[in-house]
Every structure is written in C-alpha cells, then in structure tokens.
C-alpha cells in the first residue's frame, strides 16, 4: 500500500518535471527573429547594460514590470508628447524626482538607442484591447 502510494507520488512529480522541461525548452526558443533582438546593435546593448547598472528598473517600468515612481518607458521615444530628445534631456540632467546620474553624452545616446529597440517590440500600457467572455483579452496592437 505504502509502496504504491510512493510510486504514484513519484510518477506525478516526475511527469510534472518532464512537462516543465519541455515547456521551458519551448519558451527558451520562441520567436528568435522578432523585434527586440539587439545582438547587432552595440549601442542598444550598452544601453541595456547601463539601464541595469544604474538600477533604472527600481523607478521605471518596461511593459509594466519594474518600479512605480517614474513613468513606464516602453514607448517613451515614440510618444508624441515626449520623444527621443525629451528622453535624452531627462537622462542627461535628471528631474525633480530623478537624480542626475552625470551620464556622458555617449552613455545617454546608448540608453536612448536601447529605449528605441524596446519601443519597436510593442506597446505598454496597452492602448486598446478587446475583452472576451471567457476572461481572455485581445491586445489590439
């Protein structure tokens, strides 16, 4: 009785584990050629590195993920009321709430290059969407 119980538990555990491995492999390999690939854009790569080194995510979000103090930066460079120059100026000099990190001209340009790559991938916050009765949503992007 005990042995069969242990076998059942182990079978469930390892079945879940196998499914997890297959699912993880799928997620690791999806959509490799879509926008968002910055491997051929060294400025954007440097910008991403700076974004992390200055802990920008503690205050800013990308796709709604990150801090809440500053605005979501996913589409800041294509926002008609902001744009690349605005982003560059804020990065260089800070604001009342955002400290001036004394970034160089080149570093600020790399951060903008990164934000331009982020902008190409999609929209956040979602501008329009359709809600289905089953609780799912179509993001009309």
């Amino acid at each position: 009785m005990n042995i069969s119980g242990i076998l059942i538990k182990r079978s469930i555990f390892f079945s879940f584990l196998l499914l997890f491995i297959i699912y993880s492999a799928h997620i690791y390999t999806f959509n490799a050629a879509s926008p968002g690939n910055i491997s051929k854009n060294p400025d954007a790569q440097k910008g991403k590195q700076l974004f992390q080194e200055y802990n920008c995510a503690s205050c800013h979000q990308l796709y709604g993920l990150g801090g809440y103090m500053g605005p979501d930066l996913t589409n800041v460079v294509s926002n008609p009321s902001k744009g690349e120059k605005y982003a560059y100026a804020v990065i260089r000099s800070g604001t009342q709430k955002m400290p001036n990190f004394n970034l160089s001209d080149a570093e600020a340009n790399c951060l903008v290059a990164y934000l331009k790559e982020v902008d190409r991938t999609g929209f956040s916050p979602v501008p329009a969407f359709t809600v289905h009765l089953n609780g799912d949503v179509n993001y009309d992007q």
Binding site: A57, S58, Q96, V118, V131, G135, V137
Partner: protein
C-alpha cells in the same frame, strides 16, 4: 548545532527589522523624494527587498535545520556545512547591502545586486541543498508532505535562480522579449519555491501543535501540494500577459492559475473549523501566527486569482495592486508563518528563569494584522485609481501619482505601524534568543 540555528533565527529577525525599516524609508521617499536624500529611493528599495528576502531564507533554513534535527533525533546535518552556509550567506548578504550603498547594481528585479554576487548565493544554496539531502537520506518512509515541499523548494530554488541569471548569456540577454519572458518565468517559480519551504514549515508546525502526524500524510495534503507544485511550474505568466510573447503562454498560465480555485474552495470549506480551532488555541502563541496567516492566504489567493484573469489583469498590471499581492503575501503569509516557526523554536528552548514575554508578542500580532490590513487596502485603492485610466494615454504619469498620493500616504503610515508591530514581536524573541545563547 542548536547554537548555529539560533544564529540563523536571530540574524533573520535583524534582517526582517532592517528590511522593514528600509521599506518605510522608501515608502516616504516615494512621496517625498527629498526625504533621507543621502540614501535615495533607488538604493533604499533594493536594500528593503534584499533584506526581506534574506529574512525569508535565513528563517526558513534555520527552521528546517531545527525541525529535521528534531524529527530524526540525531545530529543528521553536517555542522561544518551548516556553519559554512551561515557564514557565506551572512557575509554575502552584508557585501550585497554595502554594494547598494555604493551604487553598485545589477539592476534586475528582486536581485538588484551585481551578478557577481549571484555566485555567492548559489554556493550558499548548494551547501544548504547538500546538507538537506544528507540529513533526510535515512529518514523514515513514506515522507510526510512537508519533506516533499522542502525538497521541491530547495531544488527548484536552485533551478530557477540559475534560470533568473540566464540573461548573462547573450542568447537570452540580447533579446528584449525573450529576456523579459524568461526573467519572469524564473521569478514566478522562484517565489513558488520559497513558498514551498514556508508552507512546509506551516504544515510541520500544525502537526506538532495538534499532535497529529496524519495531517502531513493525508491524501488531501498531497493533493494540495501537487496543485501548488503544478502552479509553481506553469502558473507564472500573469506577470507578462502584456508582453508580446506567444499567446499560448498566457492561455496556459490562465488555465493553470484557475486550478487554484480548488485551494480557495478548500479554504472556504474549512473556514468554520479553522475559526473554531483559532478560538480553542487562542492562548497558543504559535497558533496565533498561523491563524493570521490563514486569513491572509484567503485574501491574497482571492486577489491572485483575480489578477490571473487576463480581462482583469489588463487593468491591474503595472499598478499598486501587484504590490498589494506581493507584499500582502510576503508579510501576511510568509512572515506570519516564519514568525510562528521562530516562536516555536524560541519557546522550546527558552531559559526558565527568563521566560518569553508572550503578552507583548500577542499585542504585536494584533498590531501587525491591523497595520497590514490598512497597508493592503491602501495599495489596492491606489491600484484601482490607476487602473481606471487604463487605455487612456492622455493621462500623465505625474497626474496619476498626485491622484493616488492619499492612498500612498496611508500605505507609508501603515508601513510604520508594521515596523512598530514587528518590533513588539521581534525584540522579546531576540532577547530570549540572546539569553539562550549566553546559557549555551
């Protein structure tokens, strides 16, 4: 061995108090950025998060070392490995906190330290994993459910922590969407892993309080464990519904998350007996904490289920409702359960001439529940206000911040109440632990 465990527990309480203090600073800095400007918000936030994560790891590891030692009635752990685990974790944690003060970041959510320190965390966890499996190798079979949960938590933390660091490989890090997807896949499972450690501790404590080992061996306990494990593996994507990754990720996560309704029904079904048990055990300090955690499990599970529905998530994502869920679970569930465990261990080992001051702790529990209630409601209020502007790009971020500032002030003040309550709980425990250490 017991001395080492007391160090784990004592230092974990210091990490908790430090973490909540940093949290209070960052809550006020969010409203008034000039407040305590020598350590700005982008430094206090990681100080807060890492200290609280340190509390969860140290208290969980210390409790598990203690409980397995009690179960096996032998010194089944390697003392030198345990010592190495403690030393590496504390020295690593201390270096990480100092690195934040010097502005030396890795900039990833939860793990905001430079990735070089990830190796240290990985090493400490490896010591814990080796020690844990060495200790339970010869234990009686079939294992109670908490052994399964601890095994799952220990192993999957290792797996998901490595996964969370995959961004350092260019294949992952150089693709913005893949990076975000894998990052939040790892984080969802990672939180699930430490929840396994903590929930396992809760079940262990219940079996001891009620003196009923069958609680941890019942079919229902295992059904709930496998349901939790299933959600740990596949139910993480509510974080990234809006990220443009394949739709099947959202659909799978939505379906898997809804299986948690079974846990919600089970909690509602057992609410009456739980309340009755709460009345019977009202003088039991450990049960006081566990009873509070039961209430917070119910509330946070309900919130988690709501935000896992894409049609609701689209309004709540990126708002303070997500913070309510994260902090509500960390304080209301993890912290209450771990404090129950700390009390259990401290009471078991207390020095008779200096008994633990139980009444102060009970007042602290009441204060913590009230403060957390206000804190949680304020965060939800702020989230609802912001969510009402979903789909309206004309509203500026600054305008939303001004609109939600009364809620954030309530949140910051309630945070101070949480700190005061935790002081009322932790100081008698720390005092008792120090006396125990002095008495050897």
């Amino acid at each position: 061995m017991n001395t080492l465990i007391k160090y784990f527990i004592g230092i974990s309480l210091v990490a908790l108090l430090g973490g909540v203090l940093f949290g209070c600073f960052s809550a006020f800095q969010f409203l008034y950025p000039a407040f305590f400007s020598s350590v700005p918000f982008f430094k206090t936030r990681p100080l807060h998060v890492s200290s609280v994560v340190g509390w969860i790891f140290l208290a969980s590891a210390g409790s598990i070392y203690y409980f397995i030692g009690q179960e096996n009635k032998t010194s089944s752990f390697s003392v030198s490995l345990t010592r190495l685990h403690l030393f590496m974790f504390i020295s690593g944690g201390f270096i990480i906190l100092i690195s934040y003060l010097f502005g030396y970041f890795g900039g990833r959510e939860y793990w905001e330290f430079n990735p070089i320190f990830s190796l240290m965390i990985l090493c400490t966890w490896l010591f814990f994993l080796l020690n844990f499996f060495h200790a339970i190798k010869g234990s009686d079979r079939p294992w109670p459910v908490y052994y399964w949960m601890w095994c799952t938590g220990v192993v999957f933390f290792m797996i998901t922590f490595i996964e969370a660091n995959l961004w350092m490989v260019p294949y992952f890090g150089d693709h913005i969407i893949r990076d975000l997807t894998v990052q939040w896949k790892a984080y969802g499972a990672l939180v699930g892993s430490w929840n396994m450690l903590v929930y396992g501790i809760a079940i262990y404590l219940l079996t001891k309080i009620k003196n009923d080992p069958s609680i941890a061996k019942s079919k229902l306990a295992f059904a709930m464990y496998f349901l939790g494990f299933f959600n740990l593996l596949f139910g993480w994507a509510h974080h990234i519904y809006v990220v443009p990754c394949p739709k099947y990720i959202r659909v799978i996560s939505y379906a898997v998350s809804m299986t948690e309704l079974l846990i919600l029904f089970k909690l509602i079904w057992s609410a009456r007996p739980t309340i009755q048990e709460g009345r019977n055990q009202k003088n039991n300090l450990v049960y006081n904490f566990l009873f509070s955690s039961d209430i917070w499990v119910l509330l946070n599970l309900f919130l988690a289920l709501l935000i896992s529905i894409p049609a609701i998530n689209v309004y709540t994502h990126g708002t303070h409702i997500t913070v309510a869920h994260a902090m509500g679970s960390t304080i209301g569930i993890n912290t209450f359960i771990l404090l129950a465990s700390v009390c259990y261990i401290t009471l078991k080992n207390q020095v008779p001439e200096n008994p633990l001051r139980v009444s102060a702790i009970k007042k602290g529990v009441r204060g913590l529940n009230i403060s957390l209630g206000v804190f949680w409601v304020c965060l939800i209020g702020a989230g609802v206000k912001k969510g009402m502007h979903t789909g309206d790009p004309s509203v500026l971020h600054q305008a939303i911040l001004e609109e939600i500032s009364p809620f954030l002030l309530g949140f910051a003040l309630a945070g101070t109440g949480i700190l005061a309550s935790l002081l009322a709980i932790s100081l008698p425990l720390l005092r008792s632990l120090l006396k125990q250490l002095r008495h050897g």
